[in-house]
Amino acid sequence: MDATQDIKKEISGYMKIFGALAVLTIVTVAVSLLKVGIGLAVFIAMVIATVKGSLVASFFMHLAHEKKLIYLFLLITLVFLMSLFFITFGTIGDQVGVKIVSESISSGVH
């Protein structure tokens, strides 16, 4: 009896999360219509997407009440993912000393 009551409470929580996700989806589209710079647009879109993803993971995937081992797996994954993005952004940011060779290739060599 108690277990069923607990599950019913969970279900009402799922409905609230669904409402939040629907509203955030509309907000994502609405914000994209604002005329802001690409940097700010990316920041806002990723913040909203992260909030939405966290809601799904925390409540639908019940990560909020999961065992420590799962958190460890996800922490290791996050480290590797961040390293991957760090290398990517580092590659984009590292323009110092890089010669633009496309012109010389198209004009002379071939």
């Binding site: 277990a3 069923t4 599950i7 969970e10 279900i11 799922y14 409905m15 669904f18 996700l21 629907a22 989806t25 994502t28 589209v29 994209s32 690409i38 647009a41 990316v42 879109a45 990723m46 909203i48 997407a49 939405k52 993803g53 799904v56 993971a57 639908f60 995937m61 065992k67 420590k68 081992l69 799962i70 797996f73 996800l74 290791i76 994954t77 590797f80 993912l81 991957l84 993005f85 290398i87 990517t88 952004f89 590659t91 984009i92």
Partner: protein, 197 residues
Amino acid sequence: MQVPYTVKARPDTGLYNAKIGIWLFLASEVMLFGALFSSYILLRAGSTTWFVGSEELSVPIGTFNTMVLIVSSVTVVMAWASLRMNDLKKYKLYMGLTILLGLTFLVVKIMFEYLPKIEHHHIPSTHNFYAIYFVLTGLHALHVIGGLIVNAYFWGPGAKMWETDPEQFTNRIEIAGLYWHFVDIVWIFLFPTIYLL
């Protein structure tokens, strides 16, 4: 031979084995999609011209499909909750709805997005924008198809396990649900990245 820890938690991990398996699999999936998102950033940053997603793709269709996947996340978690309340009929209803929503997503994607794009010769070789669009959304669509096959099995013949081992069957639905939610999360990031920015 009885497979151990399909229902009871392993004493050392505190989890049944399939739970560990799916989270390790999802961790590898994070890296797979992470690598593709990373490629998208590199391609976009290195390109002299780039299409604005909202001008090339249909935002209403993308928004509709986002909502379809979010609703399917609710129905799949309701399917699991129904089994925990010993209600197989409701499980069948919610899992059936999840499958229908997954099919809706695919039909909309193929009929209203992929085919018109291909007809207008907007294909991967047209521009890097379309190359990464088709790779990212195509890989995601393959994941939806994979999830649909698993969910359809558990809705149909796989549901027989409910009669012999209801606890293990409930755990199986939890695992299938975790995968389905992950597919939803990938789309939650994919939609603004490709369609809006």
